[in-house]
């Protein structure tokens, strides 16, 4: 009897650690995605509704580079792809991520040029709807490419874990957390840089920014390039096992990633980097812990109740602080 109690205690702390790591990892994915949102919103005042499709497309670029023998439309073999049955080493995999982000950034530039630039000067609402159109235009390609099965992301460590006491810590979770921290640091540095300041100036008063000689079109370009690259990074991180279904770009999870991140950016404030860092972890903690510790009430709450938790949090935040916890309220002198 006593032995059994001990076991229960041990497994309780193990469960806690595993849940915490999972929450932090999920939060990291949310953060990367959220940063992409915030950069684009800060630079162009547009909520990017195309984020899901862009993130999935970015992950798809990665998959093509790392897992396919050839490159679409190009005659030569893919130099990065490992042989049959092998996976890439970690340095090569990281290099591929970098290349993918560059490709995603270029993709962002193309979208900005074709869909967003012609809309400059039009109402913001129109621009937001255009991004929705971009989402709808890209999504079929994503869905088609993943129709039969998820596309491999060639994660070098697969679904391996470290063990911490009794708890299992998946390597992918740690990798996701590190990726998010690096992305967060880069974005914060960017914010303080010359272009970051220019971007915030444009966000605040476009005409006054133009009068200072800031090239508003350039700011739009940078915002979209960076935003799409971050979305791609989030898509890749989200595709690593053991995020369900794991190790691949899958149409089960990727097409709705942006909607799961919406509560994060609303909680943090649409235009705040710190808000995203905080909101990402907060929402993921709420979601994962609710999923773990309320599971005994699953029959009452219904299946998949944990995915609703972020929206409940978002609702409460919207009622109390409509501009988010870290969003900029309008500055007024008294």
């Amino acid at each position: 009897m006593e032995d059994l109690l001990l076991l229960a205690q041990a497994s309780a702390s193990t469960t806690f650690i595993q849940t915490l790591i999972k929450a932090l990892a999920l939060g990291s994915v949310y953060i990367m995605m959220g940063l992409g949102f915030v950069i684009i919103f800060k630079g162009t005042q547009v909520l990017n509704f195309a984020a899901s499709a862009l993130s999935m497309a970015g992950a798809m670029f990665m998959s093509i580079l790392i897992a396919d023998g050839g490159i679409p439309f190009l005659p030569f073999d893919n130099p990065l792809a490992p042989g049959d049955g092998e996976t890439a080493g970690i340095p090569l995999w990281l290099l591929t991520i970098a290349i993918t982000m560059v490709l995603a950034a270029l993709f962002g530039l193309v979208i900005e040029r074709l869909a967003i630039r012609p809309m400059i000067g039009q109402p913001l609402f129109a621009m937001a709807v255009i991004t929705l159109g971009v989402e709808i235009a890209i999504r079929p390609f994503n869905i088609d490419a993943t129709a039969l099965e998820g596309r491999s992301l060639g994660v070098p460590w697969g679904a391996e874990s470290w063990s911490l006491g009794d708890a299992l810590v998946p390597k992918s979770y740690v990798a996701a957390i590190i990726m998010a921290l690096i992305a967060g640091a880069i974005v914060i540095v960017f914010y303080r840089s010359r272009f970051g300041v220019a971007m915030r100036a444009v966000a605040f008063d476009q005409e006054a920014a133009m009068a200072q000689g800031i090239n508003v079109a350039r700011v739009f370009q940078i915002a979209w390039a960076l935003g799409v690259a971050l979305a791609a990074l989030a898509g890749i991180a989200y595709g690593m096992a053991p995020f369900p279904p794991g190790g691949s770009v899958s149409q089960e999870i990727h097409p709705v990633l942006a909607f799961r991140v919406l509560p994060v950016i609303v909680l943090g404030g649409l235009d705040s980097v710190l808000g995203v860092l905080f909101g990402g972890f907060a929402i993921a903690l709420a979601e994962v812990f609710a999923g773990q510790y309320l599971s005994q009430y699953g029959s009452t709450l219904g299946p998949g109740y944990s995915t609703i938790v972020p929206y409940v949090v978002m609702l409460i935040v919207l009622v109390v602080r409509p501009f988010g916890l870290f969003g900029t309220p309008e500055i007024r002198r008294v």
Partner: protein, 263 residues
């Protein structure tokens, strides 16, 4: 140095705001552009700095020549790069940014000398230095005006356009702005001063233009304008009439409203 000739500006393709406006800013001078509300003063500054697009306006006729080149089709960033900066009407500082960041936006086109210009501006406006890392939105109106001028000066312009720098400021602060303009001019920057406060503007300008409903109705030396009866009556608020009765607008305002082609 800057020449605006017969400029016509139309908003929304129907509203004619400038009807053949011609002004000239010689190098090193302070030129005052005076006029009442709706005369087209701000439109003039927009036309010079390439910001008409934002307001759905367009220059349909005439030219804006800067150092012998027509700049009326140039982008705002190119114009700032070529040496024309402006202090916009209503200050338009970036309230959410700090003072330093506001100044950094002004240096966007002129990064090489950013440090030097920053020091120069902080020497000119010590009050900004005291609060340099604070949010600009919490500055007082006068301080915001100083920041707006400083921000424009970060680009090291050869011509500074000031659109109503005295707007909403107490008389003492207007004096301060006036001194700052003189100092900037003394350091070699030409100034186009767009104002409703004619007394202040004419007290420091070399030449002045008076505009009404989109064109220049009077121009000349500031001295001459200051002594002009009509200007005194309508812009400087000096009554010379002995009877003390209000004069009829029609009786007095007799100077010609002809279109000017050369001046």
């Amino acid at each position: 140095m800057l020449e605006v000739a017969n400029l016509e500006v139309v908003y929304n393709e129907v509203i004619l705001v400038l009807r053949g406006l011609s002004i000239e800013v010689p190098e090193g001078d302070i030129v005052a552009l005076l006029g009442s509300n709706g005369a087209g003063k701000t439109t003039t500054s927009r036309a010079i700095t390439g910001l008409l697009d934002v307001h759905d306006g367009a220059a349909t006729k005439g030219t804006v020549t800067w150092k012998g080149r027509d700049i009326s089709k140039d982008k705002p960033s190119a114009i700032v790069n070529n040496g024309i900066s402006q202090v916009m009407e209503g200050r338009r500082i970036f309230a959410e940014l700090t003072i330093d960041e506001n100044l950094a936006t002004g240096a966007f086109t002129n990064r090489a000398n950013e440090k030097k210009n920053y020091d120069r501006i902080m020497a000119l406006f010590p009050v900004l230095l005291e609060r340099h890392d604070q949010t600009a939105g919490y500055l007082s109106g006068g301080e915001q005006q100083m920041l707006a001028i400083g921000r424009a000066m970060m680009a090291e312009p050869e011509l500074l356009i000031l659109d109503e720098p005295s707007l909403g400021l107490a008389p003492l602060l207007v004096q301060q702005v006036r001194d700052v303009i003189l100092e900037i001019n003394a350091e070699g920057t030409s100034v186009l001063l767009i104002e409703q406060n004619a007394a202040m503007a004419l007290s420091i300008a070399n030449t002045g233009y008076i505009m009404e409903t989109g064109k220049i109705v009077m121009d000349g030396d500031a001295e001459k304008l200051r002594n002009d009866e009509d200007v005194q009556e309508f812009y400087l608020g000096l009554h010379t009439d002995e009877s003390g009765e209000r004069k009829s607008f029609r009786d007095v305002k007799h100077y010609k409203r002809r279109k000017r082609w050369l001046s």
